[in-house]
Symmetry: C2
Subunit: 247 residues, 2 copies
DNA sequence: CTATTATACCGACCGACGGTCTATTCTCAA
DNA sequence: TTGAGAATAGACCGTCGGTCGGTATAATAG
């Protein structure tokens, strides 16, 4: 094999890119290191020059995810026009769609992220993201408590609950994707939308706000994402990639 | 090796017992099938006569956990003296200590169950347990809504939130065990107790109850469990088993 | 313009893993 | 008594994550 030398940082990012695709497509466990290095077109030795282990690769990937999500949300915090509730709502809305423009993109991300075999990957990302977001959330909640918008105690704890609602969504969403038929899907969408409303009200009440104050996403967002599947039929990332793989 | 034949059901239970010990001690991934069959004293062939795969073993283990937890809680439901709130509190208290008598036992279970390498195992158990407990919870909440005790809608959703608070506890507890020094531990215990109180109030508010109605566990329970470590020092299951293993 | 060192990369190799297969022994109903 | 099938044994297989000795290129010093 010819020897190709690239800028280390570029090479590292490339590795993360290919790992991201493969981990999301096949799951962390099922995607082998050989797959990663074959896709990236490098040798085992080169890989272990950049990462100490497969696990370290996963960790770096989770960190990059968290960093990107954090970057996509920074502007909300600088905006002095927003009160604590507005800031919190903006944060909740943004954090769900950072780096995702269209509903179809969101669907692809969801469909892969919430597959059962991606539990480990998802959890790592969540831990990294929580570590990054927690201070921001705590700050917002403290502000809200200080100016009387929120009526609660233990801002750190509340921030944890807010973020773990995101984690709790995992199984709910996973179930929505587990259903086979389109009829199942319709029921799943309704359940999912009702569940999101319920989470919103739960947060309202925990924060001592009137019902309807918190908005996790625009109404209809769930339906928009979930119905985007029919636009991009069975040609999901998974199918396309697994076809390319065994050849 | 001499050929030993046992009653199939006994053999199966034995396999689950040994798998439980090893999975909790070393984690699902790190505990190898060879470890399991060596501990159980049987051959590969015998193992694959009882389980289709390592994953099937995990699944069966999770099911057994859920079944046992459910059994330990059945009496609460039959008690006609309890109102919905009492029933819910009893369920929350019982489900946390089914099959666990002493604080030391609870500590050992926690210390193993919440180790990061046991995420997969923990998640499987949680999924199985949720599937088993969900109908019970829904029924209780429906009763409470019907007789005016709870003021909420979407009982299924609320039941999900209640149970996922259990799941959300994972990382909080995991952090508590991650700390090294005893000083860390003291802080972790305080955080943990405050967090439990917060979860209780969150549930109160979600269910439309006055603060202080829900009781996840008796006050001081967390401290009792966590300080039980010092009683049974480094001779944890993990240390003892890993010593016995590499010989 | 060398000589030297550090960095990026290669790929054969390793032990351990989960899983398969064939062979053997035991049980028990007909 | 026998034969079908359940229960057990263990050699074997492909693949996995990871290691290692080595090579080519880039960077630096003399």
């Amino acid at each position: 094999m010819p020897r190709i030398i690239k800028h280390p940082e570029l090479r590292r990012e490339e590795l993360l890119d290919h790992a991201q695709t493969l981990f999301l497509t096949h799951g962390y466990d099922k995607a082998s290191l050989n797959d990663v290095i074959a896709t990236a077109g490098i040798s085992k030795g080169a890989f272990y020059h950049y990462f100490a282990s497969k696990e370290a690769l996963l960790e770096a990937l989770a960190e990059r995810f968290a960093r990107q999500a954090l970057a996509g949300v920074q502007d909300v915090l600088g905006d002095p026009a927003l009160d604590p509730l507005g800031r919190l709502n903006a944060l909740l809305a943004k954090s769900r769609q950072a780096k995702v423009e269209t509903a179809a993109e969101a669907w692809t991300l969801f469909e892969t992220m919430f597959r059962p075999e991606n539990l480990v990957l998802f959890h790592r990302i969540n831990v990294a993201a929580n570590a990054a977001f927690s201070p921001l959330l705590v700050e917002i909640i403290k502000q809200g408590v200080a100016d009387g918008t929120f009526r609660t105690f233990d801002p750190e704890g509340v921030a944890d609950i807010v973020m773990q609602f995101g984690l709790a969504t995992h199984d709910v969403i996973a179930k929505a994707f587990a259903g086979g038929s389109d009829a199942d899907m319709d029921i799943a969408i309704e359940t999912l939308e009702r569940r999101v409303r319920l989470y919103e009200i739960a947060l309202d009440r925990i924060l001592g706000l009137p019902d309807g104050s918190i908005r996790i996403g625009e109404p209809g967002y769930v339906r928009a994402v979930m119905t985007a599947r029919r636009a991009s039929p069975s040609s999901s990332v998974a199918a396309a990639a697994s076809k390319a793989r065994r050849m």
